[in-house]
C-alpha cells in the first residue's frame, strides 16, 4: 500500500490536475480551519470566564445577609439580618473539616491623606485568612496577621494604585497615613490580577474597624474557602448545609433567598462549565457540518476523476490490476488530498492562533488556543473523512468493466 509506485501515481494525477486538486483541497482545508477556529474561540471564552473568577479562590463561598422576604419563626417579613463575630466562630466550629480559610468582611469608606495628597478609597476590614480567599498578592511588606487582630492595631495594607496616588515616589512601608483623620501605619502593598479598581482598595484588621465604628461586633459578610479536595457535589452539599444552618440560626425561612445568601463559586463555575460545554458542542457541530460539505466536495471530485480515468482503469485491469489495487489507489489519493489540505488548514489556524491568541486579553475572551487533543482528533477525523470521500468513487472504479472502458469504436 505504501510503495513508491502508488505514491508516484498519486503525485502524477495530482500534478496533472493542479487546479482541481487545489480547489478540492481548499474546501476541506477551509472546513478544518473553521472547526479549529471555532473550538479555539470557545476555548477563548472559557479562558475569559475562568480569568474573571481567577481573581478569587475558585473554592470560595460568600455568606451575605439581607432582609427577609417571608415571615418565619414568629418574625415578620422585612427583618434585616445582621451577622456578628459569633456567626464566624459558629461556622468555624460547626464545620471544622470543611473549611480551609474563613474571614469576616467589614466595609467602610475612607478619605486617606498623606502629606498633601488625599483620596477616597474603600476599606475592607478582614481577618488574615482573607489574603488566601481573595488571592491577594502582597508585593512589599506583609498582610494583616493575628497579632493585628488581637491588638486592634491601626495598620493597613494598601493597593498599588493607592500607594502610587498618595506616596508618589516615596516608599509607603512604615509611613503613617490618615484615614478619616486617624493615623494608620502602612504594613504592606498588594497587587491584584483582577483589575485596577481592586488595587484602589485598602485592607485593615476587622477588629480595628469594629472598634472605630462604635465598638461593635457586627460584620458585613463572611468569606470562606472550603476544603480544596472537594469535588463539585461535595462543595454544593457543603454550601447547602451551611445555608440551612445559618438560616436556622437567624430564623429565616429555608426557602427565603433574600434573607441570607450563600453564594458558591463552584455553582457559578458549574453553570459556566455547562455553558461553555454547550458552546463547544455547537462549535463542533457547525464545524462538522462544514467539514461534511468538504467531504462531499472531495467525493464529488473523485467521482469525476474516476469518470475521466475510466479508460486508464480499464487498461490497468486489462494489464492485470486487481480490484483491490484500484480501490487502494483511489482511496489513498482521496485520503492524501484530504489529509494534506486538512493539515494546511490546521497549520494555518494554529499559526494565526499562535500569533494573535496571546494578544487577545479581554474580560470575556482571552488567549484562544487549541490543545493537542483537538489537533489529534482533527487528524483522525481527516483521515476518516478521506476514506469516506473516496469509498464510493473507489468502489465505482473497481467495478469498471474493462470491456466497457476500452470500447473505443
Amino acid at each position: 500500500m505504501f510503495d513508491r509506485d502508488v505514491w508516484q501515481e498519486i503525485f502524477n494525477t495530482l500534478k496533472t490536475n493542479k487546479l482541481r486538486t487545489f480547489l478540492t483541497g481548499f474546501s476541506v482545508g477551509w472546513a478544518i480551519f473553521i472547526l479549529v477556529m471555532l473550538l479555539a474561540s470557545v476555548n477563548g471564552m472559557q479562558n475569559g470566564f475562568v480569568g474573571q473568577f481567577n481573581d478569587d479562590a475558585t473554592n470560595s463561598i460568600f455568606v451575605r445577609p439581607g432582609t427577609t422576604s417571608k415571615a418565619y419563626g414568629g418574625f415578620e417579613a422585612g427583618r434585616r439580618i445582621q451577622l456578628k463575630n459569633d456567626d464566624l466562630e459558629y461556622i468555624k466550629q460547626s464545620f471544622p473539616n470543611d473549611i480551609e480559610y474563613i474571614s469576616a468582611r467589614y466595609y467602610a469608606n475612607a478619605i486617606a491623606r498623606y502629606k498633601e495628597e488625599t483620596g477616597s478609597y474603600s476599606v475592607q476590614a478582614t481577618h488574615p485568612d482573607h489574603q488566601a480567599i481573595e488571592k491577594t498578592l502582597v508585593t512589599a511588606g506583609r498582610y494583616i496577621n493575628e497579632a493585628d487582630i488581637i491588638n486592634k492595631a491601626k495598620v493597613a495594607v494598601i493597593g498599588r494604585k493607592v500607594a502610587e496616588d498618595l506616596f508618589k515616589n516615596e516608599d509607603p512601608l512604615g509611613k503613617f497615613v490618615e484615614f478619616n483623620g486617624l493615623p494608620f501605619r502602612v504594613i504592606g502593598i498588594f497587587t491584584d490580577d483582577g483589575d485596577d479598581n481592586a488595587e484602589r482598595r485598602i485592607y485593615a484588621p476587622v477588629s480595628t474597624y469594629q472598634r472605630i465604628y462604635g465598638n461593635t461586633n457586627e460584620i458585613a459578610s463572611i468569606a470562606l474557602t472550603y476544603n480544596p479536595n472537594y469535588d463539585l457535589t461535595e462543595a454544593l452539599d457543603f454550601s447547602e448545609r451551611l445555608e440551612i444552618l445559618m438560616k436556622r440560626r437567624h430564623k429565616i425561612a429555608p426557602e427565603d433567598q433574600a434573607g441570607l445568601n450563600v453564594w458558591n463559586y463552584a455553582e457559578a463555575f458549574n453553570n459556566i462549565s455547562s455553558f461553555t460545554a454547550v458552546l463547544k458542542g455547537i462549535g463542533i457541530g457547525v464545524g462538522f457540518l462544514i467539514l461534511i460539505a468538504g467531504i462531499v466536495g472531495i467525493g464529488n471530485i473523485m467521482v469525476f476523476t474516476i469518470k475521466e480515468r475510466t479508460k486508464e482503469i480499464g487498461v490497468r485491469k486489462a494489464l492485470g490490476a486487481r480490484p483491490r489495487q484500484i480501490v487502494n489507489l483511489v482511496l489513498l489519493e482521496s485520503v492524501f488530498i484530504t489529509a494534506i489540505s486538512g493539515f494546511v488548514g490546521l497549520l494555518f489556524a494554529w499559526m494565526i492562533l499562535a500569533a494573535i491568541g496571546p494578544m487577545i486579553e479581554t474580560p470575556a475572551f482571552s488567549n484562544p488556543s487549541v490543545s493537542l487533543s483537538v489537533v489529534v482528533t482533527a487528524t483522525i477525523i481527516l483521515i476518516i473523512a478521506g476514506v469516506l470521500a473516496g469509498l464510493l468513487p473507489a468502489m465505482k472504479a473497481a467495478n469498471v468493466k474493462p470491456i466497457v472502458a476500452l470500447s473505443d469504436k
Binding site: 509506485d5 487498461v315 490497468r316 485491469k317 492485470g320
Partner: protein, 233 residues
C-alpha cells in the same frame, strides 16, 4: 494453447437481445499467428474480449493453456489476464502521464516484480521494439507507430502465453502498419502465439491463418501463405 467449444454470447439491447456469437468452435496451437476477420458486427471483437477474459461467455467452454476459464472472480480474472495474456489495442491505450518505460513496466508492477528488475526488463523490451532512446518520453511525444510499438512492448513485458491484438493497425497509416506487422511477425517467429483482429485483407495475409467470422459463426478457417511485412518497410 486456446480451445473453444460451442461458445455463445448475446447482449441485451433494451427489451430484445442480440445474439452475437452463435456457437464458435476454434483451436489455436502454440506459435500460431491467427487473423480473425469479419465485417463490423460479425462478432470478432466480442470473441477477442471473451478470449481476453474481459467479458464472459453465456455458454460454451474455453480452455487457455490447459486451464478452464469459467466463472472467474474479478481478482482471479485479473491474475489470469496478467499471467496469460498481453493486449494490444487499436488506440494504443498507453497511460498518458507515464513515460514509455513506465508504461511497459506496468504489467510487471501488477506481477509484483521488484522495481529495479521491472525497470531493467521494461528497458529490454523497449530495446526489442527499437525505442530504447525514447524510454523517458511521454506517449504524447511519440508518433502513432511508436506508441503502438510501446504498447507491443508492454504486452510482451509480462511474457504472456498469448498476445491479443485488436485492430493493431487500425489507427495507423499503411507504412507504419507494415512496420507494426513486421514487429508482430518477428515476435511470432520467436514462438509466441498471437491473435490479430482485423478487417484489412493485407494485414490478415501477413498472418499464417485466417479465421473468417460472419454473423456470429466461423464461415472460413484457412491456413495462408504468410506475406512478410519486411519487404514493404
Amino acid at each position: 494453447m486456446i480451445e473453444i467449444k460451442d461458445l455463445h454470447k448475446s447482449y441485451k439491447m433494451g427489451s430484445n437481445s442480440l445474439h452475437v456469437l452463435k456457437g464458435i468452435n476454434f483451436k489455436v496451437e502454440e506459435g500460431e499467428l491467427v487473423a480473425i476477420m469479419g465485417s463490423s458486427g460479425s462478432g470478432k471483437s466480442t470473441l477477442l474480449n471473451i478470449l481476453g477474459m474481459l467479458d464472459g461467455a453465456d455458454s460454451g467452454e474455453y480452455t487457455l493453456d490447459g486451464v478452464p476459464i469459467k466463472n472467474l472472480s474479478e481478482t482471479k480474472a485479473a491474475q489470469y489476464r496478467n499471467k496469460f495474456l498481453g493486449f494490444i489495442f487499436q488506440s494504443f491505450n498507453l497511460i498518458n502521464y507515464k513515460s514509455a518505460v513506465e508504461n511497459v513496466a506496468l504489467p510487471l508492477y501488477y506481477q509484483k516484480v521488484p522495481r529495479k528488475e521491472r525497470q531493467e526488463k521494461a528497458m529490454q523490451y523497449l530495446e526489442r521494439v527499437g525505442l530504447k532512446p525514447w524510454a523517458d518520453h511521454l506517449p504524447s511525444e511519440l508518433s502513432g507507430g511508436q506508441k503502438q510499438r510501446v504498447a507491443i512492448a508492454r504486452a510482451m513485458a509480462a511474457e504472456p502465453k498469448v498476445l491479443l491484438a485488436d485492430e493493431p493497425t487500425g489507427a495507423l497509416d499503411s507504412k507504419t502498419s507494415y512496420e507494426v506487422m513486421d514487429l508482430i511477425q518477428k515476435i511470432n517467429d520467436e514462438g509466441n502465439t498471437i491473435l490479430v483482429v482485423t478487417h484489412e485483407e493485407d494485414i490478415a495475409h501477413m498472418c499464417k491463418r485466417i479465421v473468417h467470422l460472419k454473423d456470429g459463426v466461423i464461415v472460413e478457417d484457412k491456413k495462408v501463405e504468410q506475406v512478410r511485412a519486411e519487404q514493404y518497410v
